[in-house]
């Protein structure tokens, strides 16, 4: 029998999620943004594609995919809606990673497997009022009390908080230890003493809900510490390159959306009896967008490839996230210039790209801290 090469998994993932984005997300993106609510129906629709299980092994109900495939998937989703891509990424990665790596069999059965099927919503809480870029400033305390941990403190800017079923929360167990005293804990929503604020009113990614968490004598079992004592920051570092590369992929998706709109409008809109795309200054914007997106693409998928080979790739992932998120911001800025006044109208999508891109600058490390890290990796600090 003749052998015929099959398409690659990457091509198939790209095509499937591109079609999903075009047919399911784009027609609803504005509506979801305007509603400003977590679109559970969309969360469930994505669940049916098995997306949330992408990164995990088959034995726990995962698909066994790699970082490259994961990035392709979220890039395509981000092209349609940054909100949708952001909660998908949360469910696939930050919200479930620690439970998978360090949770018990019971955690896996009761929470992780349902989360991978989209029956439970996951969330991840690092940031505090005074501990954001500087995680070492975390004040939320976990104190051992007999056969329980007692948690007190608060978290802010927590994606999915209003709708999540469980949280992976970074807490301090020993103030004298600084970063070494930080550990992750699993806290389920129904646990007494856990309070969720009302959702924030925010500029962009309006279809993801964000809120504060407050912990007042929250009592959880000992096995809810996820990971060995003192390994919290170390374990976070293990997936930091993936988080940054994934955020770079989200950025490419948004940049492409802004770019496609810009191209279309440049060919449609006429002034001085000419298509505006015939003006060299508009062509310059198109050329720069195309070039930067190409660069971001090469950096991001190179970093993903390194991660898939088992390399650390922290510098490359930081560079990719820094370059790609700035590319997304520049591309949506240029798109608004090309659209002129119409970019200021809520009836066109470019205003949404312009608002949503700002999110990319903060999650996964700000551009400033990434530059600090890149320089340190280069030996200058």
């Amino acid at each position: 029998m003749t052998r015929i090469p099959r398409p690659t998994a990457e091509e198939m993932i790209r095509k499937t999620f591109a079609r999903f984005t075009d047919d399911e997300i784009i027609p609803k993106a504005r509506e979801m943004d305007e509603a400003g609510k977590f679109p559970r129906w969309m969360f469930e629709k994505i669940a049916k594609t098995g997306a949330y299980a992408m990164r995990y092994p088959r034995k726990i109900g995962g698909a066994g995919g790699n970082t490259t495939q994961f990035c392709i998937m979220v890039e395509e989703l981000a092209r349609g809606s940054m909100s949708v891509a952001a909660f998908t990424a949360m469910q696939c990665l930050m919200g479930t990673n620690f439970l998978y790596q360090y949770g018990t069999k019971d955690h896996h059965e009761r929470l992780l497997k349902p989360a991978l099927r989209g029956e439970k919503v996951a969330s991840f809480a690092l940031t505090e009022a005074d501990a954001a870029t500087d995680l070492g400033g975390a004040k939320t305390m976990a104190v051992r009390d007999g056969d329980h941990w007692l948690i007190n403190g608060s978290k802010t800017w927590i994606t999915n908080a209003p709708v999540a079923d469980f949280f992976t929360v970074l807490c301090q167990t020993d103030k004298t230890q600084g970063l070494k005293g930080l550990n992750f804990f699993l806290i389920e929503r129904e646990t007494p003493g856990l309070y969720v604020s009302k959702k924030f009113e925010k500029l962009g990614t309006r279809a993801t809900e964000i809120a504060e968490l407050a912990f007042s004598d929250v009592r959880i079992p000992l096995e809810n510490r996820l990971g060995q004592d003192g390994q919290g920051v170390g374990n976070l570092m293990r997936i930091l390159a993936v988080i940054r590369t994934m955020t770079a992929a989200l950025s490419i998706g948004l940049a492409r959306a802004a770019f496609e709109c810009s191209k279309r409008y440049s060919l449609e809109r006429t002034q001085f009896k000419k298509r505006i795309g015939s003006f060299q200054l508009i062509q310059q914007k198109i050329a720069n967008m195309a070039t930067e997106i190409w660069g971001a693409n090469l950096m991001t998928y190179k970093a993903a490839e390194m991660i898939d080979r088992g390399e650390r790739a922290l510098k490359e992932a930081s560079m990719a996230k820094y370059f790609a998120s700035e590319t997304a911001c520049r591309a949506s800025d240029e798109a608004t210039r090309i659209y002129g006044a119409y970019s200021y109208s809520m009836e066109y999508d470019v205003q949404r790209f312009y608002r949503d891109c700002r999110f990319l600058l903060f999650g996964g490390g700000t551009s400033e801290i990434l530059q600090t890290i890149i320089s340190r990796e280069e030996g200058v600090y």
Binding site: M1, T2, R3, I4, P5, R6, P7, T8, A9, E11, M12, I13, K15, T16, R19, F20, K48, T49, G50, A51, A53, M54, R58, G62, A63, G64, G65, Q69, M73
Partner: protein
Amino acid sequence: MKLVVLIKQIPNTSNVRIDPKTGNLVREGVTSIMNPEDRHALEAALSIKDHFNAVVDVISMGPPQAIEVICEGLAMGADKGILLTDRAFAGADTWATSTALGNAIRKNGPFDLILAGRQAIDGDTAQIGPQIAEFLGIPQITCVSALELSDGKVVANRIIENGCERIETPLPALVTCLASLNEPRYPTVGRILDSVLESTPIEIWNAADIGVKAQEVGLAGSLTQVLKTFTPKGGRETQYLEGTPSDIASGIVQFFVDRQVRLGE
């Protein structure tokens, strides 16, 4: 229960152009997709599989790269794929296409139901389903918008102009499916990753494998030959009726009468 689904790979015609000079499709930069109605046919088979103990095979005839739609079929949930590919199949008209597909279905063994799309959006003839049913000597229901299976028979709603027929026929049978039949599922990530592995069964058959001679299929086995393809000169004429409203109204009526257009009963 054994279900066979026919899927065709087609150029994504939402972005196809015809070269005005040569009259050919401009294939450059055009992606290939599974014919949309075939996705509905496959969904119908998979939802039968969800409820009964069924095995679903997908079959496609096309160039080697059509293996992609077979993989997509497997990623949606089919159990086995068969790709008919051979230079001898090239240039087939619908007769030669259904000869090849009919022989392949026969070779694949006993089946209960064959599901096809009503129509491929590139070739557009809607002949393949009916021709294969004739070839195999089994009953067919075309243009199906609802489908039920129960002990040895299929009951389907068949959309016709101004209405719907409800038809029952014993199995084995063939149905051609409309988009209104269902909402196709997306491939799942896990199944996508499996579909590209050599361990997932896809059989590749050529003319000899299905027991046909080269002159029975492809261009040689075709009963029709395309002499020329061209884009019709799309000159539409606009005629303005002038005068009083009643002059204009009778002008419109006369227009229909002249052209023997029958207005509603």
